[in-house]
C-alpha cells in the first residue's frame, strides 16, 4: 500500500513530524521526523523513556500542539494547518482525551464533566448521553459526585467516559495510569482494552511496559525517533 493510501485508511496518521523546543539556551529535539499510522479500531501504545518525545507526539496528534514540520491527518483530513478554533471543534467532536493528573473540572459533577463536550455544542440530550457513557465505565451511581468525592481510579474512569461520550474517532490517553496504584491502573487498562475491542481507536502514551502489553501494538520512541514497532495485532504500518 502506498504511503498516501495508508494515511487515508488510518484513523490518525503522521508524516515526518519534527518538533524542537528551546530549553534555556539549548534546543531540545523532541521529534525528529516521526511517521506513524494508527488504523481504525487499533489500540497503540507509544512508549519510551522520559524526554523521548512520546507526550509531544500525542499532543501533536491531538491538535494540542503544532509540529515545526510534517503533517497530521485525522481520518485522512490534514489537521496540522487548521486554526485554533477549528482544532477546538475537532478536539470537542472527534477526539477524546484522558490525562495523567486531575482530568476533571473540579466544580462539575461526574455527569457534568462527561457531558461537557456535548454541552459546549448545546446538545439537549447531553446529560442523558453522559449517564449512558458513565454506565459504560461502571460509574452510573457516582454521576452526581464531584471529583473530590471520587477515588483516583474513579476519576480516570469518568475521564474515559468523557473521552467516549462523543463517539470520537480517536481516544488519546497520556499516562492514564501514571497516578494510580497498580490494581486500579490495571482496571483502567482493561477498560481501555474492552473499549478498543468494541472498535474504538486508542493511542496511549506510557512509560510502563506492563501497560503497553494491553495495546495491540507498541511504538517505541527514543530521542525523538521511533526505534521499535512491536505487537502487530492491528493493520498498522510504521516506518522510521
Amino acid at each position: 500500500m502506498s504511503v498516501e493510501g495508508a494515511q487515508e485508511l488510518a484513523a490518525v496518521s503522521a508524516r515526518d513530524l519534527v518538533k524542537t523546543y528551546a530549553q534555556g539556551e539549548e534546543a531540545v529535539h523532541a521529534l525528529r521526523g516521526v511517521d506513524v499510522d494508527v488504523s481504525v479500531g487499533e489500540f497503540v501504545a507509544i512508549t519510551g523513556p522520559s524526554g523521548s518525545g512520546k507526550s509531544t507526539l500525542l499532543h501533536i496528534l491531538g491538535g494540542l500542539d503544532h509540529p515545526d514540520a510534517g503533517e497530521v491527518r485525522l481520518a485522512g483530513e490534514a489537521i496540522s494547518t487548521l486554526s485554533e478554533e477549528q482544532l477546538a471543534l475537532i478536539r470537542r467532536r472527534r477526539l477524546g482525551f484522558v490525562l495523567q493528573f486531575f482530568n476533571l473540572l473540579p466544580t462539575l459533577t461526574a455527569a457534568e464533566n462527561v457531558a461537557f463536550p456535548l454541552l459546549l455544542d448545546g446538545l439537549k440530550d447531553a446529560l442523558e448521553r453522559a449517564h449512558a457513557s458513565l454506565a459504560r465505565v461502571g460509574l452510573e451511581r457516582r454521576a452526581a459526585h464531584r471529583p473530590t468525592q471520587l477515588s483516583g481510579g474513579e476519576q480516570q474512569r469518568v475521564a474515559l467516559a468523557r473521552a467516549l461520550v462523543t463517539n470520537p474517532e480517536v481516544v488519546l490517553a497520556d499516562e492514564p495510569t501514571g497516578n494510580l496504584d497498580s490494581a486500579t491502573g490495571e482496571e483502567i487498562l482493561e477498560l481501555l482494552r474492552t473499549t478498543a475491542d468494541a472498535g474504538q481507536t486508542i493511542v496511549m502514551v506510557t512509560h510502563d511496559p506492563r501497560s503497553a502489553k494491553f495495546a495491540d501494538r507498541e511504538v517505541h520512541l527514543v530521542d525523538g525517533r521511533i526505534t521499535l514497532a512491536g505487537g502487530g495485532l492491528g493493520p498498522a504500518s510504521m516506518t522510521t
Partner: protein, 858 residues
C-alpha cells in the same frame, strides 16, 4: 529572623521580580491609594497655608490687623482714630482686591494691594524675625498710578516694566502700567506670589473703593501688650472692625474650608482602604502559587514563623515601594489638581497657591499608611502559611483542594457592630470637624461593610450561577463556579468595587440631592426674567462687583420696568464667617418680582415685612449656632460701629456658615457699600426677555463693564454650575478611586487566570475554543462588575441618604433625598464596564496561553 531574611531574599523577592505584571499592579494599586491620600493632604495644607500666609505675611512686623468686617471696607479716617490710641507706634492702611489681570496671552487671578509709603516700614531692611525682606525694583510711576508686580506674577504674565496690563475692575477692564517688580519671601507667599502692589489712592480709584480701606496694620509700642492695644482700638472703633493678630480675620473662612477638606480627605481614605484588597489578592495568589515551594522549605526544616515573617516582609516591601511611588505621584497629582482646588474652594479668596506645602508628618503618615495597608492586606493570606502541610511538597502542584474558606459566623455581628460604631462616630466627627475621628469613623464603616460582604457575596454568586448557565451555557457555568470556589478572592474584589462605587454614588447622590434643592430654591427665589451679574460672580459674591449706579442706566432700557440690586457680602461676626444677602425684597415683590419667599421660610409675611422695617432674617444654622429665635436681637459690625437688629424671621439656607437677609437699602446705607453683585430686571408687560437681555448686553459693552446678562434659567444654570464646581475636585478624586478599583479587578482576574492555568488548559484540551475560555474569564470579571455595581448602588444609595441626613443635621439644611435611580443605574453600568475593561487583558492571556504549558505540572 535569620530564616525570614533568608527566605525573603531567596524566594519572596525573586518571585516579586519574576511576576512583574502582578507586582506592578499591586504596587500600582497601593501607590494610587497613597497618592490620593497624600495629594489631598498636600492640597489641603497648601490651600490653608497659602491663605494664612496671604493674610499674615503681608502684615510684616505688625502685631495687630484691624480688618473691615465685610467686603465694603471702612473709612480711611479709621487710621487716625487708631493712631490716637496710646501705645500705637504705627498704623498702615491697605486696600485689598482680588481680580484678574491679563496680557494678550495670559490671564491670572491676582491680589492687588493698595499701600502707602509707610507700608515698607513693616518690613525692616534686610529682613528680621518679624518680617522677611522685601526688595523693590522700580516705583509707582510718575503719576503714582503704576503697579509693581510680585516677581512670580511678572514671570507668569511674561510682562516687563513699562508694558500695560488689563485689570478687571467694578468699572470694567482698565489698563494699568507695570512700573516695577517686587521680590522677597513675603511677596512670594501673598496669594501664592500672584500679587501686585499699587499706591493706596490709585488702588482706591481703580477698584472704585472711594475713601474706604480694607485693613490697617498696627505696630504696637514694645511697652504695651498687643492684647491691651487691641482692646483699646476696639473701644475707639466701637466694634466696627475685626481686631486681632494678623490672620484673625481668616479664621471663619478656615473653619468653613475645614469642613470641605474633611469630606475630601475621607474620599482618599476610601481609595487607600480599597487598595488593601489589591494586596490581599496578590498575597493570596502568591501563597497558592508557592504552596509547593513553601511545603518544600518546611520539609527542609524551615519554621513556619519564618515563612510567615517572609510573607509579611514581602508585603511590607511592596508597601514601601508603593508608598514611595505614591508620595511622589501624590505630589505630582497635587501640582495638577491645585489650580482646580482653588477654583473649587471658592470660599477661600485665593487666586494662586504658589509652591506646594509639604511637612514631614504628611510624608510619614502617607508612608506609614502605604506600608500598613500592604501588611494588613497580606496578613490573612500569610496566616494560611501556618497551615500548609509539608507533605504537599511531594504532591503535584495542581489539586482539587480549593481554598474555599467561608466567612466565620462572627463576621455578621462584628460587621453590624462596627457599622453602628461608624454611624455614631461620623456625625460627631463631621460636626466637630475632627479629621482623625472622621477617618476612624469612615474606616469603621468600611470595615463594617467588609465584614458583612463575605457572608453576602457568596450567596449572590450562587444565585447568579443558574442565570449565567442559562444565558451562556457551560461557559457561564464555569465562570460562576470559578467565582464560587474562591469566595475570599471574589468577595474582596467585589468589596473593592462596592466600596468605590458606593463612594461615587454616595457623594453623587448627596450632591444631586443638594443640587436639586439648590435648583428648587434658586428657581423659587430667582424672580426676575433677566439678570445682570458681575463676570467674576462666583455664587457667593464677586471679586469685582458692579457699580450700584449702573441700575439707573439699566432701568432706562426699553422694556425694563424696574431694576433691583442684590449684594452678597461676607461679614465677620464674633470671629465667625457670615454672609449677608442684601435684597430689596418688599420693593421688588411689589414691583412684580416672582420671588417665592415661601420656599425658604415658614413665615414669609414676617420675613418680607420685617426686612422692610430694617430688621433681618437669619438662617436656621445661624439660629441654632447662636441660640437665636425670631424676635431676638443680633448685633452686626458696621463701619459706624456695632448695630443691633431685630430678627424678623428664620429661613432655610443651603450654605455651611451663618447667613443673613437684610434689605438692600438698609445695607447700602449702613455699610456704605455702593456695589452690587447682580441686578434683577423686571420687565414691562409684553416685553421679550431675550430682546431686553440683548439690549442689556449692548449697554454693558458700551459702558465697558465686565458683566454678563442672563435670562432666569441661565442664571439658575450658572448657580448649579457653581455648586457642582465646588465638588469638582472631589469628583476628580473619585475618578482616581475608580482607577484603584480597576487595578484591583485586573489583579484578581490575572490571579484567577494564573491560578486556574491547568484547568483552563484542560477545558481547551477537551474542546473549548480559546475564544470560549477568554469569554469565561471575561464573564467572571463582568459578573464581579455587575454584583459590585449593584452592591455599590445599594451601599451608595444608603450612605447617600445617611450623608444627606447628616448634612441636614450639621448645617440645618432642609434637603429632600433624591433616590438616585439614573445615577444608580449608571453606577451598575460603570462597575460592569470597569470590570470588563479589567478583564480584557487577563482574558487575552487565557486566550493566548499554550494548552500544553497549561497541562504541564513540572
Amino acid at each position: 529572623m535569620t530564616g525570614t531574611r533568608l527566605l525573603l531574599r531567596t524566594i519572596n523577592v525573586r518571585h516579586l521580580l519574576g511576576r512583574r505584571v502582578r507586582t506592578a499592579l499591586t504596587v500600582g494599586g497601593v501607590a494610587a491609594g497613597v497618592a490620593l491620600v497624600f495629594s489631598i493632604s498636600v492640597i489641603n495644607l497648601t490651600l490653608i497655608d497659602s491663605f494664612r500666609a496671604s493674610i499674615r505675611e503681608v502684615a510684616g512686623a505688625a502685631e495687630i490687623e484691624v480688618a473691615a468686617p465685610d467686603a465694603g471696607g471702612f473709612p480711611s479716617a479709621f487710621v487716625e482714630r487708631i493712631e490716637s490710641v496710646a501705645g500705637i507706634d504705627n498704623a498702615v492702611p491697605v486696600v485689598r482686591s482680588v481680580t484678574t489681570a491679563s496680557t494678550d496671552e495670559v490671564t491670572e487671578r491676582v491680589e492687588v494691594l493698595g499701600i502707602t509709603p509707610e507700608f515698607t516700614s513693616l518690613f525692616p531692611e534686610g529682613g528680621s524675625e518679624e518680617g522677611p525682606a522685601v526688595s523693590i525694583e522700580g516705583d509707582f510711576g510718575p503719576r503714582g498710578e503704576g503697579i509693581i508686580l510680585a516677581g512670580p506674577l511678572a514671570d507668569a504674565l511674561g510682562i516687563k516694566n513699562g508694558e500695560a496690563l488689563r485689570v478687571q475692575t467694578p468699572r470694567g477692564e482698565r489698563a494699568v502700567t507695570v512700573t516695577g517688580v517686587v521680590e522677597g519671601a513675603a511677596v512670594d507667599l501673598v496669594n501664592g506670589g500672584s500679587a501686585g502692589v499699587m499706591l493706596l489712592p490709585a488702588a482706591q480709584s481703580l477698584f472704585d473703593k472711594g475713601d474706604n480701606i480694607d485693613s490697617i496694620y498696627v505696630v504696637v509700642d514694645p511697652t504695651v501688650s498687643p492684647e491691651d492695644a487691641g482692646a483699646a482700638i476696639d473701644e475707639v472703633l466701637e466694634g466696627s472692625a475685626v481686631i486681632g493678630p494678623p490672620g484673625e480675620r481668616g479664621r471663619g473662612l478656615e473653619r468653613v474650608f475645614g469642613g470641605l477638606a474633611t469630606l475630601l480627605s475621607l474620599s482618599g481614605t476610601v481609595s487607600l482602604f480599597v487598595s488593601l484588597f489589591v494586596v490581599y489578592n496578590t498575597m493570596a495568589m502568591a501563597l497558592a502559587e508557592r504552596r509547593k515551594e513553601i511545603s518544600m522549605v518546611l520539609a527542609l526544616g524551615a519554621d513556619r514563623r519564618s515563612v510567615f515573617g517572609a510573607f509579611i516582609c514581602e508585603a511590607a516591601l511592596l508597601g514601601t515601594v508603593a508608598a514611595v511611588l505614591g508620595i511622589g505621584g501624590g505630589y505630582l497629582l497635587a501640582r495638577v489638581l491645585i489650580e482646580r482646588a482653588i477654583e473649587g474652594f471658592q470660599v477661600l479668596p485665593l487666586g494662586a497657591a504658589g509652591a506646594l506645602r509639604v511637612v514631614p508628618s504628611q510624608v510619614v503618615l502617607a508612608f506609614g499608611s502605604g506600608v500598613a495597608v500592604a501588611v494588613a492586606g497580606a496578613f490573612v493570606p500569610a496566616r494560611r502559611v501556618l497551615n500548609v502541610p509539608a507533605i504537599d511538597a511531594l504532591r503535584p502542584e495542581a489539586s482539587y483542594e480549593f481554598a474555599a474558606s467561608r466567612a466565620p459566623g462572627w463576621f455578621i455581628p462584628a460587621g453590624i457592630g462596627v457599622l453602628l460604631v461608624s454611624v455614631v462616630i461620623l456625625p460627631i466627627a463631621l460636626t466637630t470637624q475632627l479629621r482623625l475621628l472622621a477617618t476612624l469613623g469612615l474606616v469603621a464603616g468600611l470595615a463594617g461593610v467588609s465584614f458583612l460582604l463575605p457572608s453576602i457575596v457568596p450567596l449572590v454568586v450562587r444565585a447568579a450561577r443558574p442565570v449565567l448557565s442559562k444565558a451562556f451555557g457551560p461557559v457561564g457555568r464555569l465562570a460562576a463556579d470559578s467565582l464560587d470556589r474562591s469566595p475570599g478572592r471574589t468577595t474582596f474584589t467585589v468589596a473593592a468595587l462596592v466600596l468605590t462605587l458606593g463612594l461615587v454614588l454616595c457623594v453623587g447622590s448627596a450632591l444631586r440631592s443638594y443640587s436639586t434643592q439648590v435648583e428648587d430654591t434658586a428657581s423659587a427665589l430667582v424672580g426676575a426674567p433677566v439678570y445682570i451679574t458681575a463676570e467674576s460672580f462666583s455664587g457667593l459674591g464677586s471679586d469685582q462687583p458692579l457699580p450700584l449706579s449702573f441700575a439707573e442706566k439699566l432701568e432706562r432700557l426699553p422694556g425694563v420696568s424696574f431694576v433691583y440690586p442684590i449684594r452678597f457680602s461676607f461679614v465677620t461676626i464674633d470671629g465667625d464667617q457670615g454672609l449677608i444677602y442684601a435684597v430689596p425684597g418688599e420693593e421688588a415683590l411689589n414691583r412684580g418680582s416672582e420671588t417665592s419667599i415661601e420656599a425658604i421660610t415658614e413665615t414669609p409675611e414676617e420675613f418680607i415685612e420685617g426686612l422692610g422695617r430694617g430688621e433681618i432674617a437669619i438662617s436656621n444654622l445661624m439660629a441654632r449656632h447662636r441660640g437665636l429665635a425670631a424676635g431676638d436681637e443680633l448685633a452686626l459690625p458696621t463701619p459706624e460701629g456695632s448695630k443691633s437688629f431685630r430678627i424678623a424671621a428664620i429661613f432655610n439656607d443651603l450654605v455651611s456658615f451663618d447667613s443673613i437677609y437684610i434689605d438692600h437699602g438698609v445695607y447700602a446705607s449702613l455699610w456704605n457699600d455702593d456695589k452690587a453683585d447682580e441686578f434683577g430686571l423686571l420687565l414691562e408687560d409684553g416685553a421679550d426677555p431675550r430682546e431686553v437681555k440683548e439690549r442689556a448686553e449692548e449697554l454693558i459693552a458700551t459702558e465697558g463693564l465686565t458683566a454678563v446678562a442672563l435670562e432666569k434659567d441661565e442664571l439658575i444654570g450658572r448657580i448649579i454650575e457653581v455648586v457642582e464646581g465646588t465638588f469638582s475636585l472631589g469628583q476628580g478624586i473619585q475618578f482616581a478611586a475608580l482607577v484603584v478599583a480597576l487595578l484591583t479587578i485586573a489583579n484578581t482576574m490575572f490571579t484567577a487566570v494564573l491560578e486556574r492555568r491547568w484547568e483552563l488548559g484542560l477545558e481547551r484540551a477537551i474542546g473549548m475554543s480559546g475564544r470560549q475560555v477568554a469569554i469565561e474569564v471575561l464573564l467572571e470579571a463582568v459578573t464581579i462588575g455587575v454584583i459590585g455595581g449593584f452592591g455599590g448602588a445599594l451601599l451608595g444609595s444608603a450612605s447617600g441618604w445617611v450623608m444627606t441626613q447628616s448634612m441636614e443635621a450639621q448645617f440645618e439644611w432642609s434637603i429632600a433625598f433624591d433616590l438616585p435611580i439614573v445615577l444608580g443605574a449608571g453606577v451598575v453600568l460603570l462597575g460592569t464596564v470597569i470590570a470588563a475593561l479589567a478583564g480584557v487583558v487577563p482574558s487575552r492571556l487565557a486566550l493566548r496561553a499554550s494548552v500544553i504549558d497549561s497541562l504541564r505540572f513540572e
